[in-house]
Amino acid sequence: MSVPDITTSATLDQALNPAQPDGETTTRRMTLNMGPQHPSTHGVLRILLELDGETITKAEPDIGFLHTGIEKQAEALNWQQVVTLTDRMDYLANLSNNLAYALPVEKLLQIEIPDKAQWLRVLLVELTRINSHLVWLGTHALDLGAMTVFFYCFREREDILRIFEMFSGQRLMTSYIRIGGLALEPPRGWQQAVKKFNDALPSRIDEYEELLNLNPIFLRRVQGVGVLPLEKLLALSVTGPLIRAAGLKWDVRKSEPYSSYEKFDFDIPVYTESDVWARYRVRMEEMRQSQRIVKQALEGMPEGPWKADAPKVVLPDREKMKTQMEALIYHFKIVTEGFRVPAGEAFVPTESPRGEIGFFVVSDGTSKPLRVFMRTPSFGNLQALPALFEGNLVANSIAALGSLDFMLGDVDR
């Protein structure tokens, strides 16, 4: 008996299924379990795939493996304590989450945030955007087989994390943006640290683009892959870079400015192809725009206090607390009972690196929230996964999955 020639797929099939008579092949659909532990799902996501050969006919995401009940826990904590929970949702964009939570609560409290605090918030949130996009770029390129980019990206990410550590004492779970301003006074020498990083960034982004933009393997894996029309994306509640890569010029920072974003000059990158390549270019361009915003924030940083003048909400200075009776009383009240928020409800949408994030906070007038609904971008964006997968090849699914840039902590909360 001769060894079958398995260089062509027809004979490979015969070799694998020797019982089949020649010319008659039966096909059957296979169900494949992708995840929950799978390197390219970037977290604990399980996808049930139904395959017809190499083509995905049905994809069903199964989420909830990282569900920690953050919305439930928020109802048991003080208003200020909830800030620490928001860090743990989207653990690559902690400061964006802090800000998204602080804004609606400040809206209910109707406190005025001083300019310096607002500008520092913008600066930190834009650094967070660069940080998040760097991690996305590194892991996305790694999924597609380009390993070097990963090391380059994490080199710059390290610099950003050092800046965060300088500000807050923490690299990841910063909790630096608090209700009423910032957690601590900005450290000595922060301008130099941010300026050094920010001035070097454009040439670093050029380096990544040199590695990828003309790389034929990368281009073939991303161009024309994972295409979805704009109407479909809009109907599926998809936001952020994905929708801008589909041709819609919509960014919450421009359409509904918050935290004095209207004072900054930046562009919204828009592409119309709506494939993985367009999403890649949108995010690269967003990093450059964030760099511009950080530069403007550095140069035009206003002088003044870094927290609001609201003694019932914001903790007093150490010095005042030890010398003034009222400050000590307020300190005691805030730390033990927490401050009260007037009854009402507020929703403020903001633009996180992944899309639209908005916290809907409901107060019944006590020192704990009645309800905090977290409209997170990853949850909405992940709904597009079946539409991205179905009818496409398994090999392309990894590129499409990476282009969604979801964070499972943000999906499950």
């Binding site: 439930k72 109907a235 509904e256 009402g344 507020a346 909405g380």
Partner: protein, 162 residues
């Protein structure tokens, strides 16, 4: 039944003209427009908003538990028009026993997971939803964790049967 200061707002006024019985109540607090919709009309209101008012997307759906008050649940719909840059909150009040409302997935596909989440965590049924099953909690979980009478601590669950 729009209150006086809201009659000049374009979208609530247009909805009021389209069906005078759809809006039960309305308010404008902190610059956010809130419309209370009659529970039976939520789908037709959403269709009208999408087709004739330019609301292309739904930003999210969630619920509030007002236990022990009655009506206990409020389902909140955050709808958004990107082209007109208008956001609306729609609310539907539901009773504490067997809360159910029609699903708006037929209007915006994106409501799918949000309604599943509200079903999972609050126990509100969305009639006509294509795939109404638990999304966050494990299958076979008893109770709905985001209800106010569900304990934050001390709930026992065993993974032995999985």
């Amino acid at each position: 039944m729009l209150p006086e200061p809201m009659q000049s707002l374009p979208v609530p006024a247009a909805l009021e003209a389209w069906d005078p019985h759809a809006i039960l109540n309305a308010s404008l607090d902190l610059g956010e427009t809130l419309l209370w919709i009659s529970p039976g009309k939520i789908v037709s209101v959403c269709k009208e908003l999408r087709d004739n008012q330019g609301f292309e997307r739904i930003c999210g759906v969630s619920a509030i538990d007002r236990y022990p008050l009655e009506p206990r649940f409020e389902v909140v719909y955050f709808v958004h028009s990107v082209s007109r840059n208008i956001r609306l909150k729609l609310k539907v009040a539901l009773p504490g026993t067997a809360p159910a409302v029609e699903s708006v997935t037929c209007v915006w596909e994106g409501a799918n997971w949000y309604e599943r989440e509200a079903f999972d965590l609050f126990g509100i049924r969305f009639e006509g939803h294509p795939n109404l099953k638990r999304i966050m909690m494990p299958e076979g979980w008893e109770g709905h964790p985001l209800r106010r009478d569900f304990p934050t601590h001390g709930h026992k669950y065993s993974y032995q049967n999985e």
